[in-house]
């Protein structure tokens, strides 16, 4: 099978940055990593990339492939090209991290964020004689997150990190979940408080990019949402994120549909005068073109607020849906 590659090159010892094109002959089921290794070994020894295990456990070979971060060892050429041998696969280094050479990036910012979430178990009290007794379900749940091989794909393509380099970003937040949700950990509340601060769990824009690119099914964004749910359960409030989800939910449980007018004041806090002032010009512009639904001017829950038809039935459902909540498994052992 013919394989055409277009690889982003850069070398700090040479000024030029550009692309190298390679065409090689490879077996039918070749992966992108096999192809790149073949290039490096027989076509161009100057090509730099990290790789080791070839089976998606060491996390070395993440790179951008046709614009999306993935593990080269898990990317089948035939799937990338959909069998079209003329399709040139574009290979670039990961995003959101500085490039050292060719496909090798500097992951220090990645690791410093991992360190930021206190990534080690902090049990309360003395260690037990034997093992901690904990439910298997919670261990299986955590194992899904421990599947993370720290490859950096989610960080590479995180859309928030693109605009805010301080965002703790998906990998570290998923790691944080792994401890916050570990029944052996004694600092879950403190962790959630810290994670609720600026640049933490509430700064995720829920774009699903990390879920899409994660090669190990860790689904970091889903872990972030679980952390949000845990933070709300722990009554950690006082940030716009919590207020936002509260006002949103209230808007639906009261009126059936979203009340956009109240989302901003409800989230930032109506008495947050400086922040509210920032919203006024925008609100006026929207009002001018008829985009502020004045029917929603009454806050959700107040008498006369905007309601959808058949709201009594929605309320019935809201009430009964409360019974669907699963009961939490017992998490602490007695030893």
């Amino acid at each position: 099978m013919k394989v055409k590659l277009k690889v982003r090159r850069s070398d700090p010892e040479k000024a030029a940055v550009g692309y190298s094109q390679y065409t090689i002959d490879a077996p039918e089921h070749t992966t992108l990593l096999d192809a790149l290794i073949q290039v490096r070994e027989y076509e161009d020894g100057t090509l730099a990339l990290r790789c080791s295990c070839r089976s998606a456990i060491c996390g070395s070979c993440s790179m951008r492939v046709d614009g999306r971060a993935r593990l080269a060892c898990r990317a089948k050429i035939i799937a990338l090209t959909r069998g079209d041998e003329e399709h040139e696969v574009t290979v670039e280094p990961m995003g959101n991290m500085p490039v050292i050479k060719d496909l090798v990036v500097d992951m220090e910012s990645f690791w410093s964020k991992i360190r930021q979430v206190d990534p080690y178990l902090q049990p309360e009290g003395p260690e037990p004689e034997g093992e901690y007794r904990v439910p298997n379900e919670s261990m299986i749940d955590l194992t899904h997150t421990m599947n993370c091989i720290m490859c950096g794909a989610c960080v590479s393509d995180c859309t928030v990190l693109e605009v805010d380099k301080n965002f703790i970003a998906p990998a570290a937040l998923a790691k944080a979940y792994r401890f916050a949700a570990d029944p052996r950990d004694g600092h879950s509340h403190e962790r959630l408080e810290k994670l609720s601060e600026y640049s933490g769990i509430w700064d995720c824009t829920r774009c699903n990019m990390c879920v899409e690119v994660c090669p190990k099914g860790v689904a970091p964004m889903d872990r972030i949402l679980q952390l949000r749910e845990m933070a709300i359960e722990e009554k950690i409030s006082g940030n716009s994120g919590v207020r936002h989800t509260n006002i949103f939910t209230k808007s639906i449980t009261d009126g059936g549909r979203l009340n956009e007018v109240w989302m901003v004041p409800g989230s930032v806090g109506i008495f947050n005068i400086p922040r509210m002032m920032k919203e006024i010009p925008g609100a006026l512009r929207m009002l001018r073109v008829g985009k502020l639904p004045v029917g929603q001017a009454i806050p959700p829950g107040a008498p006369g607020s905007h309601k959808m038809k058949g709201m009594d039935r929605v309320r019935n459902l809201v009430r009964k849906a409360a019974t669907l909540k699963p009961s939490k498994p017992k998490v602490k052992s007695d030893d």
């Binding site: 070994e41 730099a48 295990c53 421990m146």
Partner: protein, 566 residues
Amino acid sequence: MAVYEHDVLVIGAGLAGMRAALAAQHLGADVAMVSKVHPVRSHSNAAQGGVNGPGIGEDGGPWEEHAYETTKASDYLGDQDAIEILAQEGGREVLQMEHWGVVFSRKADGTLATRRFGGMGKARTFFVGAITGQAMLHVLYEQLMRPSVYQAMRSYDEWFVTSLIMDGQQCRGCVAMNIRTGELHAVTAKATIIATGGLGRMYEPSTNALICTGDGIAMAYRAGAPIMDMEMVQIHPTTLKGSGVLITEGARGEGGYLLNKDGDRFMEKYAPNLMELASRDVVSRAEQTEIDEGRGVDGSVFLDMRHLGEQVIKEKLEEIYEIARDLVNVDITKELLPIRPGIHYAMGGIKTDSNGATVLPGLYSAGEAACVSVHGANRVGANSLLDTIVFGRRAAEHAVSWIKGQQFRPVPESVVDRDRKMICDILERPMNGDRVAKIRLDMGMTMNENVGIWRTPDKLEQQMSLLTQLRARYAKAGVEDKGKVFNTDLLFHIELGFMFDCAEMTVTSAIERKESRGAHTRLDFPNRDDENWLKHIMLTRQPDGSEKMSYLPVTITQWQPQERKY
């Protein structure tokens, strides 16, 4: 160049390396860890199925049972004093990993669950799905990220060690290249622990990662440390046909069958009691026999997991499900997985005592690079992880107490000169049409062919002369990349040099051992010969460059050699 000084230097940052570094740090030593890859990229990740936990509760079983099974699986070549330590201390060490956060699978009552592994009389293997090694490796790295450890310990990530610094017989650290800058530095220490893992890449294919190139073993050999049991290379029964990627023994531990092309569970013929869970050498030989006698398909037999059901597969063997789906397009819940025996693990390595110490003062070793020897002629599944954490810790503890009487002896900057010249020579050498990758491939393919499951004197001698020819080619091969930054071309060249040393030692030892024991099967000497060969083969490089072969009796404490039956 710079000269860095530490109390304890750990080379390699897999499980053995990190466990050693952590233990030394906990004891208050100034520790440095050097690794050619970031610690979590280490190959300990690849140990999927589990870790034995002798002595943990009822499931772990009495330590003596585990020690006996380890001894028996080793085909009585394992040193029983060391095996006893492994079994006695192993459980505590596994529990320590649990306390640090490893998410071991649990039973309904919340206690640790176990699965069965090959060569074991009962289920005593603790596990995290099919990612046990990865889960343990990442947890050790978590411990290294504790601010108290992280700030105190120097981790030279992506530094490539080129040689040990020797002061006469005493080891004083290593010369290493910062891969990012290409600069050579001396990292000196009162004690150096080699934990660089295995050498599988001298075979092609193998289950080993591209980084498993025997660096530490070769370096220790060059420094004059005895290297032991090098003929003992484990062949794993289940590696993926084609790429050679490992399929965990956990697949059989959970109840997977091995079938030949006729759909027969052929292990009935070879190990009627333990069947698929006989010792690895036994199962691999059985598979190869089936294939050789025409009952395989295209050089492979089949692993059948269909009857385990989707839930068991997704919960306990998810990783295998994914590998099969992604690499060979097989749905193991519905289809047979083609597998074959493949090179997997080095039982041999740097000869150490049960404290990880070599005969050279200041030089220690632990993990796959070392040979204590607890694995003898064949390692039991799930003992590799146990070996790393028990002997990684012990090596560090002994090193920390040993250095108390040691002073720093400054090393001259000139210690890097030899390696600098070696590198310059490689860089200046013109490309001659030959390639390092091709030489390695030729080495690997022929090693598999001639030094694999079945060994004969002809093939072994043939391989030795092949290695000589390949070495001549190697000496003339250049590299394309002449730069300093992240020059992987250069690193592969140096690594291939390490692999030559290891391969030659393996062939030399295999020629010498005129019997069949464990992983070493000589067709001309098909039986075990305890009278003549209940001993280790050691190779030591002499100061003049020549090689000395010597023998070391096996230590027997409780278990006299018996015939092995599974």
